[in-house]
């Protein structure tokens, strides 16, 4: 008995230690990513880093302003396209679809959310670059919208389906047509879940590179035309970090730090605006 007890205690200790080491490794890796990005990136931050566009690789007074503008332009355009469609699609799935259809659609959307982003890039190239004859911010936005759509649709649908049936019935019982119940009751009650889904999807596309390589291509200057090649922060990081120029490589680190902080900031802002304590970063 005592031997058994001792063995059991040792097993417990081994399991505890393994799980403890695992979480330590995870946190150390994550921490070192943040640490290195910060140490390597913070030095390139300056006024011109945020206000100037790309210049000659030897000019120290240059920055990523054109890429920030391109990223914001394409991300917000993608969000503007996919948000209403996602919410309406989610309403259809949770309020109107039969169980059989809903389950099939969920399967497809979940699969779609897992498609490698380079594939989305290639498809968007065929759909939006070839017909228009040019790489463009528009094609980039469409690629990002395609990435955002399944994430936001599923998150919104889950939020809608968590709204109790009693609220829908109470709405129907005062003579509201179903579409008004969906829009004025279910959507409002599920608002926080929809916002959270939006934030996750937006954070995801804001850091995407592969779909933009094939669609927006990149550019040296500020975006002026959504039907022209456009830069993004991630495209700039990709291009600069491969380059042989020290100034550009440093800017790539600075841009990496910027995008890391942007993502943390998006999550924090949403977290506090929603007041949802379960949802930390």
């Amino acid at each position: 008995m005592t031997i058994n007890l001792r063995v059991r205690k040792i097993k417990e200790k081994i399991f505890f230690t393994l799980s403890y080491i695992s979480i330590a490794i995870t946190l150390i890796i994550l921490g070192s990513v943040i640490f290195f990005t910060f140490v390597k990136g913070i030095n390139s931050w300056s006024i011109s880093f945020f206000l100037s566009p790309q210049r000659s690789p030897l000019d120290p007074n240059q920055g990523i302003a054109h890429a920030i503008q391109g990223s914001l332009l394409m991300s917000f355009l993608a969000a503007a396209i996919s948000t209403p469609i996602s919410i309406l699609a989610a309403i259809y799935l949770s309020e109107y679809a039969s169980t059989a259809f809903r389950e099939k659609a969920e399967y497809i959307l979940d699969a779609m959310a897992g498609i490698p982003s380079i594939v989305v890039g290639v498809v968007s190239y065929l759909l939006f670059v070839l017909p228009l004859g040019t790489f463009s911010a528009f094609a980039g936005s469409m690629a990002l919208a395609i990435m955002m759509f399944p994430l936001m649709t599923r998150a919104s649908q889950d939020a809608f389906m968590r709204v109790g049936r009693e609220y829908r019935e109470a709405g129907l019982a005062v003579g509201l047509p179903k579409w008004k119940v969906s829009l004025h009751i279910v959507l409002y009650i599920a608002k926080n879940g929809v916002i959270t889904g939006f934030a996750l999807a937006f954070g995801r596309i804001f850091g995407e590179t592969a779909p933009l390589l094939m669609t927006a291509l990149g550019s040296r200057s500020f975006p002026t035309d959504i039907f022209a090649p456009t830069s993004s922060i991630t495209l700039l990081i990709y291009e600069y970090s491969k380059s042989p120029f020290e100034i550009w490589i440093n800017i790539a680190w600075g841009a990496s730090l910027f995008i890391l902080i942007m993502n943390l900031a998006i999550n924090l802002v949403i977290k506090f605006s929603v007041g949802d304590r379960r949802w930390v970063i």
């Binding site: 039969s98 009693e166 019935e169 109470a170 019982a173 005062v174 003579g175 509201l176 409002y188």
Partner: protein
């Protein structure tokens, strides 16, 4: 006996393969309280949900037979269920206060979203509805607070005010006091007795004492069939059917 407001004629209802109501025929008299009693799962709630066409909103639910409101079948093709639900209000077992709306808007929602715009008129109707639901004095100073800040009994009266605001002809109540404490429940019962002056009320209850206190008529349902129907006192004191008597004396339930 009075004017027949609603008449059910051989109503059958299903949830998928589950045959819940079987050839049920019943008359509901105007401006009276009809209590529907019977053991759990006998089809009481389904009966209510058939009357305001809420039953069909559940996937796989079906209805056959006729439900006549003022002599017109509400299941005719030219009838919009939304219009029926404006004429027939409903109160649920679990009091519903919309969490995103103020007390005021919880009452006004049916009017507002049905296109009612006149602000002064809306204020007046909200106040009248809250007064009629015996809630006005408790909430008059905090109409803009969220509806969920109310207690359970207050929420139920809020739900009644929301139904009344649409000036319905009939109010369906599905065990409206079963989730409330006895004091809050007694207030709802008093309210039901007052409301029958203006509305036809159908009350589902598993509480025979409650039926005795508020009902003018009682319908006893068992396994989806109407077993007995009549004036409340007659059904309670001298049931004609043995099954009713067994239920009333607590032999099953």
């Amino acid at each position: 006996m009075g004017y027949i407001k609603i008449e059910l004629d051989k109503v059958n209802a299903w949830y998928g393969d589950n045959h819940v109501l079987k050839d049920l025929s019943l008359s509901i008299f105007e401006k009276s309280v009809t209590a529907i009693i019977g053991p759990s799962g006998c089809g009481k709630s389904t009966l209510l949900r058939v009357i305001n066409r809420l039953h069909e909103t559940v996937e796989g639910a079906r209805v056959s037979g006729r439900v006549l409101l003022d002599g017109k079948n509400i299941y005719d093709d030219d009838i919009d269920p939304v219009d029926i639900r404006r004429r027939i209000g409903m109160i649920f077992q679990q009091p519903v206060a919309f969490p995103h709306l103020s007390i005021y808007d919880n009452v006004a929602i049916g009017l507002k979203l049905n296109g009612f715009k006149d602000k002064a008129m809306l204020d007046k109707m909200v106040e009248e509805s809250l007064r009629e639901a015996a809630l006005w004095d408790e909430v008059r100073s905090r109409l803009m607070d969220k509806g969920i800040s109310l207690s359970g009994g207050q929420k139920q009266r809020l739900a009644i005010a929301r139904a009344i605001a649409l000036k319905p002809e009939v109010i369906l109540m599905d065990e409206p006091t079963s989730s409330l404490d006895p004091v809050a429940g007694a207030k709802i019962e008093d309210l039901i007795i007052n409301l029958k002056r203006n509305y036809t009320i159908i009350l589902v209850t598993h509480n025979i004492q409650q039926a005795a206190r508020v009902a003018d008529y009682i319908a006893f349902l068992y396994m989806g069939r109407l077993i007995e129907f009549g004036p409340a006192r007659r059904v309670l004191e001298s049931p004609e059917i043995e099954l009713t008597e067994k239920y009333l004396t607590g032999e099953f339930g």
